[in-house]
Every structure is written in C-alpha cells, then in structure tokens.
Symmetry: C2
C-alpha cells in the first residue's frame, strides 16, 4: 500500500474564501423559532442557506473555485457533475464570472433543478444515475472540450468556500451571545461538513460536530465509525434526499471529517418528510428533503437538544411544487 | 359635527415597545435576494415577518398591548377579533403572559389560522363575516365575561408594537449601509403602516412610504387621496388576501398615515398569486397572499425600483397547504 498525501484545508483557506465571497454570496440569516425551541427543549439556530443564491450553499464553493481559475481557462469554460444544487451553484458562479458552463446531471434529478440550471445559462447533459458514471462522462467531455472541472466536494477551494457557512454561523452566534454546543451538517460527499468543521473547530473548538445523512446512505457515519472510507452498497434503496446520495465520503473531505467530527447520525425518509412539512408550517421556510435532514434529526429526537444550543444548516430549498404538495397533503 | 381628539403615536412609543419586546419577539431578518435585485433593477430588502412568532408581525402589537394591562385584567382574560393573524398573535402573547384568550374569528378564515389559534390555547368563537359584525359580537362577549379587548389595529399600543418592525428595518439597513428610498407596507386597518411610518419618518425621514392593498379593498389608498377616511363598498369582491380585508382605515391609524405616507398602491389577486409563487420558487419563503401584496407590487412593476433601495415587509406566512398547492400548480 502506498501512502498518498491529501491536500488539507485550513481556517486561513476558509477566511480567504470569505473575502472572495464578500458582497457576492448572500450573508444568510441565522434564524431562531420560539416554537422549535420549546419543542426541542434547547435553543436551535437555523442557518438558512436556502436563502443563498440558487437556493443552496453550493454557490459558495463553486464561486470560490471558479474565481481561482486563470482567466483563459475560465473563458474556455467549466464543467461540473451534480444531482442539482452544485449544478445551479456552478451555473450561477459561471454566469457571474462570464464562464460558459456545461453540467452533467442525472436524468431523474428534480425537474426544478434541471430547469433552473438551464435558466442560468448552462448547457445540461443528462445521464443515467443507475447505469452510468458521472465522473467518467464528465471527465470525457471536459477532456474533449478543454473544460476545467469544478468538483462537487473533493476540492480544497470548494471545501473552503462551503466553510464560509461555518464562519458566518460562528460570527452570528457571537453577535447574539449564543455558545454553540452542537453543529449538525447535512452530508453527502462531505464538502459542507469538512468546510464548516474547519471553521468551527478553529473558532469554537468546544462545539461538537455531527454529519447527518439519509438512512441507507450513511457512508460518512459508517466511515467515521470505522476510521476509513466506507461505501454505500450499490443496491441501497433510493432516498427522498436526492442531494445526499454520494456513494462515499471524498478523499479530501474524509480525513478532515475524521479529525474534526464527533460522529454521524442518520434519518429516515419519513422523518425528513415531517421536517419538510414542519419547515413549511412552523418555520415558514421552503426546504428540500436533503436540506432538512438535520432538522429531521432534531425533530425526531435523534440528537438530544435539551438545555443545549444546537446550530444546524438548512442547506437547500430546491423542492419541486409537486413533491412539496404531496408532502403537505400527507398528514 | 364635533371634533374628537385622536391619540397619536410617537417614536418614543415605538422605542418603548421595542424594549418590551426585546428577547420576546423574534428579531426577524432583512433578507436580500440577488435574483429579485436583478429582476427589479434595484435593491429590494425583504423584512421577513413571516419568521415572527405565529408567522406574522401581529404578535408584536398584541404582546405590547397585553403586557400593559393591569395584572388583574390579564388574569380575567382578553378578547380579540381577527381574520386570523391577529388571532394567533394575541393567543401567543396571552399564552406567554398567562392570560386566558377568547378570539372571535370569521367562519371562513383559513383553517390553518383557526387551528393554530386553538392550538395556542385560545377559545375560538366563529361568526359569519358577511352578515354579522365582529365588533358587536366581540364587545358583547367582552362585556358579559369582563374581558379586556385587544383591538387589531386601532390602539396606540398595538400600533407602537407593530412599529418595531420599522425600527428594526432602519437598524438593519444602517448595518448593511443601505439607504432606504422606499418602504412598502401591506395594509388592512393600517396598524403596521402607521407604526412603521412613525418609526421610519423619525429615523429615516427621506424614505417614501406607501401602503399596499388588494384591488377593490384599497380603502387606505382612496382615503389618502381624498384626505379623509373612505370605506370599501359592502359588495366589493372578496380577495385572496384574507388578512387585508378591513372595511376602512382606523380612526387612530388614518391620521398618522395621512401625515406620513406618500400614497397607496393596489395589486390584483393574479399579481398576488404570482408573488406567492415567486416567494416559494425564488425566495424559498412561505408567504400568504396578504403577506405578499408589497412583493406583488414590486414584481408587477406597480412601483418603480430601478436604481432604488426598496424595503418591503413580508407580513404573514399563514397559508394553508391546499391553497399553496393550488397556486403552485397554476403555471
């Protein structure tokens, strides 16, 4: 076995990303809801990245990465693969930076995510999530057309960009005098988790950080428990959380998560549905299933909040009208 | 004709209300959305009172009023009439202050508003909006049971409470270095408009303030134009904006509005529907029709935003799942 060295991400990288994103990314609010506090017995602070450009945190990492590319590469164009939120984040960042964007998306991604990506000016290439490899398709097209790849999570600049969410959480907690006991981060490939953990570990070392994943897609939780990267079985049942279906933690994100996270939690689709409905009914926020996983962990009691301050990230709000209506109609 | 003197509301009253509400009312975020800015050609800042306790600004005025009552009166109980948002705000304030609440609500108020009011512990008495007077029913029951009335808008303490929304808008604008050219306020009886106008006129006198009402329910706009209170015709067609159906501006709210407002705008139900859908799709916020009137004015171009900073209040988010699904299904 050979030992490969993996790039690390430091708090300085996250701070540099925050400077790049200042005045470009929205500074999303840290929302508090009295009914949720009463119900949980703690103080729950919700970082509403649903209110970020394109409705998810993904814009941050994409913009931080694309600005770093030499102008000539940007002009030639960029390519990304994504189930939808990274697609939109990349398309928006590329649009602002004048770079043509090509996005490889699964054919069964939510129509709202495909439509929005096209509306932002990107060329969308669809593939079959179950029989084709997006990495292979993406790499082939990028090579043919000379495009720079913007990976969804396994890139230090992407991780640093997502980490600015954690930086803002810390600053916002300080402003309201809240000491953050626990941070919950929705987790797919681990870009948001690794980035936020880097920020929070540096700024608020006493905070415990947990990744939250859908049931049967808990590769990060199992990887953290095992101490090495685990993969979800290819026959894992699909989840409503289309944004949280990575097969395994990233090569770069995992070592960071292993060092800084306290563990992983998983939530069922039924718990996620309830959280999406609760977000609509009580919080008055539109949250997609994958964006509501941490909220589901709080509402279902999978994490004990009593007497604690718990921050969580509502990481995405791109839910199709049809699915939202279906969830709201189901009592 | 006799000249009656009407109580005024001053900036000191609003500041006092802000002290009463500190740590009790949520400090709701001033949200900005890049897509909305691009579309409008201006800078649009959205005060998300949808994220307030009970999903609307109404809690502020109710709490400010009920805390002012002598303890004995509070213990005996309070009574309010409301189409739904004031009902919930009063029920929540009464619950926190240990006062039994009785609320008179129209039988055709959205079920979500009636249910939420009951869930907050209030006794709900239903009446027929089209054939009965809620003021008469309310006054009779209050007299019989010895209850203190918390009016929906025509009370200086209620107006001052709602005015804290304006105070926060001003503080939040200052923090981000935004000079507020225009403030749009959704208007029914005028409590929010009068309160916010009092705050903004004192703190940011160059800001123009407009009331926004549903078409055919534009009593405030017509009253401002005429210089005296006008009433909507009893046969005015109903509007989707169930929260904005006052028959006329209040006796106390109108003189304040006349002095401080630049005028009134009205929006159609179709424009409001579009705004509710836009709030879901782009802003990722749940907004009820009446809460979206000012947003509708911006989206429909009824107010010119180009090159300007325009603040508006998303005043309520209590929309039933059925109605939201219907609006989202309608392309």
């Amino acid at each position: 076995m050979s030992i490969t060295s993996v790039p690390n991400v430091t708090i300085a990288d996250v701070e540099a990303a925050a400077e790049v994103l200042a005045g470009v990314a929205m500074r999303t609010p840290l929302v508090e809801n009295s009914a949720l506090n009463e119900r949980s017995g703690g103080r729950v602070l919700l970082k509403a990245e649903t209110l970020q450009r394109t409705g998810s945190f993904k814009f941050r990492g994409a913009y931080n990465k694309i600005t770093s590319l030499p102008a000539q590469l940007r002009t030639q164009g960029i390519l990304a693969w994504s189930s939808g939120n990274h697609a939109q984040g990349v398309a928006e960042a590329a649009r602002l930076l004048g770079a043509p964007a090509t996005i490889v998306m699964p054919r069964d991604a939510p129509a709202i995510k495909i439509d929005n990506t096209r509306r932002l000016g990107a060329e969308v290439i669809l593939y079959d999530r179950y029989n084709e490899s997006r990495e292979e398709i993406g790499a082939r097209i990028a090579h043919e057309r000379g495009l720079a790849i913007v990976k969804p999570y396994d890139d230090p600049l992407v991780i640093a960009g997502q980490g600015t969410v954690g930086l803002e959480i810390d600053e916002q907690c300080q402003r309201i005098g809240a000491e953050n006991d626990i941070l919950l981060v929705n987790c797919s490939g681990g870009g948001l988790a690794a980035g936020c953990a880097t920020a929070i570990a540096a700024r608020s070392p006493a905070t415990e950080i947990y990744a939250v994943e859908p049931q049967y897609h808990d590769d990060m939780a199992r990887s953290l428990a095992a101490g090495e990267r685990q993969t979800n079985p290819p026959d894992a049942p699909p989840t409503l959380c289309d944004a949280l279906m990575a097969r395994a933690p990233g090569e770069i994100t995992f070592p960071i998560a292993r060092e800084l996270l306290s563990g992983g939690l998983s939530v069922s689709d039924a718990e996620v549905k309830h959280a999406v409905r609760y977000a609509y009914e009580v919080l008055k926020l539109v949250v997609e299933p994958g964006g509501a996983a941490s909220l589901a962990a709080v509402l279902s009691g999978r994490i004990e909040c009593r007497g604690k301050t718990v921050c969580l990230i509502l990481s995405g709000g791109n839910i199709s009208p049809g699915l939202l209506s279906e969830i709201l109609a189901d009592p």
